[in-house]
Amino acid sequence: MTGPLPLKAIADSVRSGARTSVDVATEYLDRIERGAALGAFLAVDRARTLAEAAAVDARVARGEALPLAGVPVAVKDNIHAVGFTTTCASRMLEGFRPPFDATVVEKLRAAGAVVLGKTNLDEFAMGSSTENSAYVACRNPWATDRIPGGSSGGSAAAVAANLAPAALGSDTGGSIRQPAALTGTVGLKPTYGRVSRFGLVAFGSSLDQVGPMTRRVEDAAMLHDVLSGHDPKDATTSARPHAPTAPHVGDGVRGLRIGLPDEYFGDAVDSEIRASVESAGRALEAAGAVLKRVSLPHTPHAIPTYYIVATSEASSNLARYDGVHYGRRHPEAVDIASLFTGSRSAYLGKEVKRRILLGTWCLSSGFYDAFYDRALRIRSLLKADFDAAFRDVDLVLCPTTPTPAWRLGEKISDPVQMYVADILTGACNLAGIPGLVVPCGTTGQKDTRLPIGAQLLGPAWSESLLLRAGAVIEAACWDPSFVPSFGSAS
């Protein structure tokens, strides 16, 4: 056994009849059971998943051409999949059963994928460690006393521990890329408007994108090709046709100009991480790319800008959880005001409430111009930074996180420390550009090896280039078949 198979190999084996979709699903459901202590999943339904798998086998038998035949995919629990609850890891949506599939899930299912279960996250995707889950903390398979990152921590942990061959995440300020970096997995945040948000529970609507989290770059490309495209149900998706990326993953980087932004290699970033990403740069150079230093001067403003935009939108998006129409309703409410405040006070978590208050304040009369409006203006400056850089280079290579995975509880009482974890990822969402994280090495510290992720950023619609460069780094710096033995904490 050479370790976990690429998605294409799984689909090939099911299509050829070597294995059934039910066999594959069973294998992963068993692994999920053995890895339950990781807290990666919030909902698993063996019977439901096996029934889905059996339906795929029947479609294969009928001769349907299914690019993802029998590929099990774990879905972050803020994305609707009919048959499973969508809780967003919140008490507010405990037991909520969505009446429709998210467009991304509909596309996966149409392509022959099987939903393996719903993965853990920070409540409503608000957090960087998955500790804000109202149900269970999630652990990093590389060191189970450490966080897997967030908010797509469950998806990242599931893929890293090979409880799922692939997963969906959502990324508002780094929620795919940061956990991918901290768990040694591949994560793609597509260009804003490339992938439908219909059926993704909104956090920061102008920032949110759904993307793949996988073991391998080629797997990410394969899923990205299935997920992408215009959706008439999401007015923010682009009508621009999607050009498949998977056929070009191996095209290499010869002649590509790759920028290293000064602002992302500062002292705030661990030296080991800087060194590891620089070595990924040398791998690209060795493959024929040209490295250049570039500057993204407004980067220091990315974090405050991101938190103003994201919390403002969140304060509005989460107004619907009022106990009236669905979700939990406070039992002691005596009138409409106490129904609203009672339900929201009781069933929304601390971090969610903190962000709603912050966002409400930023949009309030008298503060709007100084905060929200100013944030929008800085947002366009950040975008202009990237536009300028991409006149000189094709892509940018930088670290994803300032530190490797930290210990559970280490930052949970200090929200600002936690917010700083997004320092290298937020600008990408504000600019609407795509970002890919590929593991490029590990820390060599004493007792613990922890993964490091290289982040590639490109102009809008450049996913194909990102994936090509990612594949070069992967080939030179990483063994995607390695699965950490997550049995005990280090």
């Binding site: 993704l200 149900k233 999401d234 007015a235 509005s316 009236v324 409400t360 009369s365």
Partner: protein, 481 residues
């Protein structure tokens, strides 16, 4: 003019919400209908379920553009949606999608040509938004039920400048606005069904001064007459306050039409902060010249244009033309009739004097069994001499109850006009013999005297004599009599 109005000048502005007559809702595919069972017309989008997203209805934007063009407003080159945020049980998302900074229409005017004295009222803006649901409070049980069928129906909010100076002005403006909206098929504007709603801002100032006084907003107005009454009441209330040395507070008041008085809803300081911001789910969209041109090309004729056509091309009197135009369904009925009989004057006459005479108690012309085909047939039958006017009237009265074709009624009632010359000559001769005085008067040039003889002939023919032929025969016989 009341003594109050001698001292005080009212300054009034109206905010009118109309539901747009689209097939589907503003941001989802649910049908836009009135009167369906509660919550039958809902989907994840208009229920505000997590994960659902709005997609704008282009038709609603087109109707808004049509309105903007009709009132001479400016159509935004780029329009956008904002979220207006407040908590209310009938608002499932916790915000209403509206337009704050980028309304689709700005400016424009409405002139009270049909209902008022021709005054021109400026508009500030007209913007698109979605309607909220409807709460039903059960007073006894204390529970509240919510019907979300209305939630997401497209609305156009039309905001006038404070150009109105009396309750009558407001009434005329509302009627004029409704006429435009109905004629252009933009909205049904039925206040009873809630497809037109109106809030009023009223302030007063001493006559001869220019600064505005503090204004009061009136809500819960359920009819145009109610709007008039509420404004009159508010003017008196404010004048009394000021004349007693008091002060008008900036506030919102609810009108109670039954009691004929208003009560405080909220003071200005407790007005909600709506925290408007651009809706990130709906990118701003460009309204291109080509689109506006297409909307303009397919728009129905405006009331004033129509008035000009009816009077100059159709030769209708100003009065008749206005009677037809002020009710778009009557106007449609008239147009259909005219298209069939090609005789607008007679069509108008038969509709406004004969048919209206039969319609009693607020019957709508759309519910009348007599259709334009019936009227057109009667006009033709009179024209070709088959029926005289009197018989045609009788047929119409029968058709009003039982709309079988005129020819069937003519046969059944034996109403075919007698045009047989020989038979009529004998009758007229007899009439002349019986009315020597009338004959003498006629010879002396008193033409009115013919009535007695023709009247006799009509009686003899049971009203079926052809009056034109009778008059002709009488003229001939007079020469030799």
């Amino acid at each position: 003019m009341s003594t109050t109005l001698e001292r005080w000048e009212p300054v009034i502005g109206l905010e009118v919400h109309v539901q747009l007559g689209t097939a589907t809702k503003m941001f989802c595919g649910c049908r836009n209908l009135f009167g369906a069972p509660p919550n039958a017309l809902t989907c994840p989008v208009c229920l505000g379920l997590p994960g659902a997203l709005p997609v704008p209805n282009r038709r609603a934007a087109e109707l808004a553009i049509r309105f903007g063009l009709a009132v001479g407003g400016t159509i935004a080159e780029v329009t956008r949606f904002d979220r207006k945020q407040y908590f209310y049980p009938d608002l499932p998302k916790g915000y209403q999608i509206s337009q704050d900074k980028g309304p689709i229409v700005t400016g424009g005017t409405v002139t009270t040509s049909f209902f008022g004295d021709g005054k021109t009222i400026r508009l500030i803006r007209a913007h698109l938004e979605e309607d909220a649901g409807k709460g039903q409070h059960e007073e006894s049980g204390g529970s509240t039920l919510v019907d979300l069928n209305r939630c997401g129906i497209p609305l156009l909010e039309i905001v006038s400048a404070p150009d109105l100076r009396s309750a009558e002005d407001a009434w005329a403006y509302l009627n004029e606005l409704r006429l435009t909206l109905r004629t252009l098929d933009i909205s049904e504007c039925d206040m009873e069904k809630g497809s037109l709603r109106c809030d009023v801002n009223v302030s007063i100032r001493p006559r001869g001064t220019t600064p505005f006084g503090d204004r009061v907003e009136l809500k819960n107005l359920n009819s145009f007459r109610g709007v008039e009454r509420a404004i009159r009441h508010e003017i008196e209330r404010q004048a009394a306050l000021l004349e007693a040395g008091g002060k008008v507070e900036l506030e919102t008041r609810l009108w109670d039409d039954e009691k004929g008085e208003s009560r405080l809803m909220r003071k200005k300081e407790s007005a909600p902060d709506y925290r408007y911001f651009p809706d990130p789910d709906l990118p701003p969209f460009a309204v291109g010249r080509a689109w506006v041109d297409r909307v303009a090309a397919e728009a129905p004729e405006l009331p004033l244009k129509r008035l000009e056509r009816y009077t100059s091309v159709y030769g209708l009197s100003d009065y008749d033309a206005k009677v037809l135009i002020t009710d778009p369904s009557i106007c449609r009925y008239f147009e259909e009739t005219t298209a069939l009989c090609n005789d607008p004057k007679n069509a108008a006459n038969w509709i406004t004097s004969e048919l209206f005479g039969l319609m009693k108690g607020g019957v709508s012309i759309d519910d009348v069994k007599v259709r334009p085909t019936h009227i057109a047939e009667l006009v033709a039958l009179v024209k070709d001499g088959t029926l005289n006017v009197r018989s045609a009237r009788e047929v119409l009265a029968k058709q009003y109850e039982d709309p079988r074709p005129a020819k069937e009624w003519v046969e059944k009632l034996g109403l075919v006009q007698v045009s047989d010359r020989d038979a009529l000559v004998a009758i007229v001769k007899k009439g002349m013999e019986m009315n020597p005085k009338a004959v003498a008067d006629l010879k002396a040039g008193k033409e009115k005297a013919a009535g007695a003889i023709v009247g006799y002939a009509m009686k003899e023919t049971k009203g079926r004599g052809n009056p034109a032929i009778l008059n002709e025969i009488l003229a001939e016989l007079l020469k030799t009599f």
